[in-house]
C-alpha cells in the first residue's frame, strides 16, 4: 500500500514572550498514513493531537516552530512557500474542524462558500462552480440543495452545517482529509450520521482521512488504524482491532479503563493529571486504582 502522509520526527514548539524554552507541544512524532485508510489519532485534550493536525496543513499560528519532516505525496510541507501551500490546501489536502458554526463565514451564502473552494483552484466559471456546489450539497445530504444554495449558515442546523463544511472541504476531491474532532460539537445522534457520511465519502472517492479525536467510540466505529498520543508524544500505533484487543502501552490501557465499553459514545474522557509522567504511568495498576477512586 502506498504512503500518502509521512511524518518523521515531527516536533512543534510555541514561542511565547515569557518562557525562554517552552515545552514542546508535539515531540518526535513519526508515522505513516496509507492511501485510502482512515487513520485515527486519539488522546486527551492537551496531548498535542490538534497541534499535529494543524502542523500537517501548516495552519499553526506564526509563533509556532515546526521541526522534522512532514511529507504529503512525497513533497516536503515544512518550509514550503506560501503560494505552494495555498494551492495544496483545499485541493490536494483539506481539513475540517470541531465547530461547524465557527467554521463558516456567517455573512456568506453557504453555497458560495463551497463554490469558492473550487474557484480558488480551478479556472471554472461562476455558473459551473455553482452547479458543482449544488451537486456537492446534495451528495452530503442537504435536501433541496439548489433552493438552499443562497441561505446563510445560521439558517441551518448544527449537523447540516458540518455537512456543508465537509462539502466545502471536499469540493476538489482532495486525496487527504484532516478531520480535527469533526463530531465533538454535535449532538450524539448527529455524530453517528456525520461519521457515516465521512466513511461513505471515503469509500466513494478513495479519500484518505486523518481523524483526530478524544473519543474511543469514534475510533472503534470508523478508523482502520490508530495512534495514541499523550504529552506531545505518539505512544503506540496499531490497527483498531489490535489496539482494542490488546493495548500495548499502559497509558492506552488506562484510556480503556477510563472509557468502559458501556460508556455512551461522545462522553469526554476523564483527564489524566499531566504531572504524572509517562514513566510513572507504567504503574498501570496504580493508575487504574486512581481512576477507579475518582469515578467511584
Amino acid at each position: 500500500m502506498s504512503v500518502i502522509l509521512s511524518l518523521d520526527n515531527v516536533g512543534v514548539r510555541f514561542n511565547t514572550a515569557g518562557a525562554a524554552q517552552p515545552a514542546p507541544a508535539v515531540d518526535g512524532v513519526s508515522l505513516q498514513v496509507h492511501r485510502g485508510e482512515i487513520f485515527g489519532i486519539v488522546g486527551e485534550s492537551g496531548s498535542g493531537k490538534s497541534t499535529l493536525a494543524n502542523a500537517v496543513m501548516d495552519l499553526l499560528p506564526a509563533n509556532a516552530a515546526v521541526s522534522g519532516s512532514i511529507r504529503i505525496n512525497d513533497r516536503e510541507v515544512v518550509g514550503l512557500d506560501d503560494e505552494a501551500l495555498r494551492s495544496m490546501r483545499g485541493d490536494e489536502v483539506s481539513m475540517i474542524f470541531q465547530d461547524p458554526t465557527a467554521s463558516l463565514d456567517p455573512t456568506w451564502p453557504v453555497g458560495d462558500q463551497i463554490a469558492e473552494t473550487i474557484r480558488a483552484h480551478y479556472p471554472v466559471t461562476a455558473r459551473q462552480a455553482k452547479a458543482r456546489a449544488i451537486a456537492l450539497m446534495g451528495e452530503v445530504g442537504i435536501a433541496d440543495a439548489a433552493a438552499r444554495y443562497g441561505d446563510v449558515p445560521h439558517r441551518f442546523s448544527g449537523g447540516q452545517r458540518q455537512r456543508i463544511v465537509i462539502a466545502a472541504a471536499l469540493a476538489n476531491n482532495p486525496q487527504l482529509l484532516v478531520a480535527d474532532e469533526p463530531t465533538t460539537a454535535l449532538d450524539v445522534t448527529i455524530q453517528a450520521q456525520v461519521l457515516q457520511l465521512i466513511d461513505k465519502l471515503r469509500r466513494d472517492h478513495g479519500t484518505t482521512v486523518l481523524l483526530i479525536t478524544h473519543d474511543l467510540g469514534v475510533v472503534s466505529m470508523i478508523c482502520d488504524r490508530v495512534g495514541v498520543m499523550y504529552g506531545g508524544k505518539l505512544l503506540e500505533t496499531a490497527t483498531t482491532e489490535a489496539l482494542f484487543a490488546n493495548p500495548a502501552h499502559p497509558y492506552t490501557r488506562a484510556l480503556f479503563a477510563a472509557n468502559p465499553a458501556g460508556a455512551p459514545r461522545g462522553a469526554r474522557l476523564p483527564v489524566i493529571p499531566a504531572e504524572w509522567s509517562v514513566e510513572s504511568l507504567r504503574e498501570a495498576e496504580l493508575l487504574r486504582a486512581a481512576i477507579g477512586a475518582a469515578n467511584g
Partner: protein, 319 residues
Amino acid sequence: MSRQLGFILRRLLLTIPMLFVMSVVVFLIIRLVPGDPVRTMLGFRATDANVAELRHRLGLDQSLLDQYLGWAGALLRGDLGKDIVSHAPLAQLLAQRLPVTFELTGLSMLLAVLVGVPLGVRAATGGRWIKRLTEAFVIFGISVPDFWLGIMLVLIFAGTLVILPPSGYVPFATDPVGNLRYMVLPVLTLATGEAAYILRTTRGAVGSVMNRPFITFLRAKGIGTRRIIFGHALRNAGPSIVTVIGIQVGVLLGGAIIIETMFALPGVGRLVVTGINQRNYPTVQVGILAIATIFIVVSLITDLVVAWLDPRVADGGGT
C-alpha cells in the same frame, strides 16, 4: 425576505417619534427664550405695534398646541417661514445653504472612509511599522481639535506655501476648479479626525474577525490572503464600520458648524451661528431642523445598511 421587510418597516416607524421629538424641541426654541423673544429679536427701539405685529406673524399669540400644529403643518407643506432680517423665504435660503453643507460633509466623509478603511485593514493585518504609524495617526486625529488643525493647515498651505486660499467659497456650478480649491482645507480639516475614528474601528473589527475560526477554515480551503481579508474579514467587519460611520456623520455635522464659520463657507451651520448672534430665531430653527433631520435620516440609512450587511440583525439577533 418578509422578515427583512418587517425589520425595515419597524425601523421606518421608529423614525417618526424621533422626528416628532426633534420637531418639538426645535419648535420650543423660540418659546423657551427667557423674557420676551420678540422684543429680544427686534431690539430696544421696537415699538409696541412692531412687537405685536411680529408676534402675530410668528403665531406667538395663540395657544401652544395651536402654535405647534400650525408650525408643523406649514413645515409639511414646505412653508418654512421668512428670515426676520432679510425677509427672504427660508426655504429659498435653505436651498442655497444645504448644497454647501452637503458638499463639505460628503467630501469629508468620502475622504475619511477612503483613508480610514484601507489603513485600518492594513493596521489589522500588516506588520509592526504600519501598526505603529497608524496608531500615531489615530492618537493625533482624535486628540487634535478640528478647528485648531484647520488653523494650522491654513498657516501651512495658505500662509507659508501660498498654494490654497485661506477661506471663502464659489459655487461648483460657477467655477468647479475654484470651488474645489476652496474646499480642500475645510475637507482635510474635517476628514482627519473622522479618518482616525474609522481607522480605529476598522482595525478593531477586522482584527477580531481575523482571529475567528472560519478564517482558519478559509486558509484550509486554499483561499488566498487578499481574498480572505477583503472578501471575508472586511465583509464581516462591515456592520461595525458602517455603524461607526453613521455615528460619525453626527460628529461631522457638528464639526461643520465650526468649520463653515472658520472658512467662511455659506452652509447651514454658519447660518445657525449667525442667526444666534442676530437673535434671528426663525432662521436658527430652520437651520437646526435641517441638520437634525439629516442626522435622523442618516441614522435610518445606517441601520438599514447594517441589516442588509448582517442578515442576522433582521432575523432578530444571533445564531
